[in-house]
Symmetry: C2
Subunit: 158 residues, 2 copies
């Protein structure tokens, strides 16, 4: 093998590696799917695992909607809870779970939309293996969220 | 130049081109920023230019929010209009314009959030060069959108 061949092979290898690494980096969950900064770590007892909230808009006396971007790390989820006016969830990325009381769990991906009915206990969160990013639109028109009890490991996994 | 050199050069060229095209394709506006399908072309007279609506959620008697993903092609915009309960706009991608009556135009990019106050005339749309994708959250609690008159070319560009 002469010098030109070795140089060509080296350049080919460098380009192949660079192309592969760039694609890998562009496909990481956070880079691909986050639209809003993930915000602050949620520290209250209404969640299991690690979740982050970026409060995009607060309710006021006329426009009673609050809007938040929530990022659940794998395995993280809300406790069971309900909203007097219901809630709209937009799935932004990753893989999420959503379940209403006495209904089977739904699996959510980017582009899915859920309307939680008023006063129906439900929970949402990430799957065990993948993070989940959602935008939650919650009207405070008829009052605040009613928080209940944790989602057991059995409920989460079945 | 011998046969091995030509083959090496050819493979190098193919890989370089493939890497470049893949990056180009991953960076197109639609692939990078659309979360929801862009939906149906808007054909009513409340818009100038080409815009698309994916109606993600309809209002009902208890949860009065409607949520839509709107994609404005470059130069497209709404007419002047107002909402009795206001509106929340989430900028998802591209470059958008937003203006309230008697206020300067704002330029919106991915991650920006705007609350339109109740009954304040305003318009939104894409910049002349780039498409704009937004999610609009509109409460129908106090009634429907009031549509007014078109945004002139002078208003749009100044």
């Amino acid at each position: 093998m002469n010098f030109k061949n070795i140089t060509g092979l080296f350049l080919f290898g460098v380009l192949a590696l660079s192309c592969q690494q760039q694609n890998k980096s562009e496909n990481t969950e956070a880079e691909k799917d986050l639209i809003f900064e993930k915000g602050a770590k949620i520290t209250n007892a209404n969640f299991i695992g690690t979740a982050w909230l970026n409060n995009l808009m607060n309710a006021d006396s006329i426009n009673t909607n609050s809007v938040g971007s929530v990022t659940f790390e794998p395995g993280a989820r809300t406790n069971w809870h309900s909203h007097p006016t219901g809630q709209i969830i937009l799935a932004i990325g990753g893989e999420g779970y959503y379940q209403e009381k006495d209904s089977p769990k739904k699996i959510l991906h980017k582009g899915d939309v859920v309307k939680c009915p008023p006063n129906v206990p439900h929970w949402h969160g990430a799957s065990p293996e993948k993070a989940f990013i959602q935008i939650a639109i919650t009207s405070r028109q008829d009052g605040p969220t009613k928080w209940m009890y944790p989602v057991t490991e059995k409920e989460y996994l079945e």
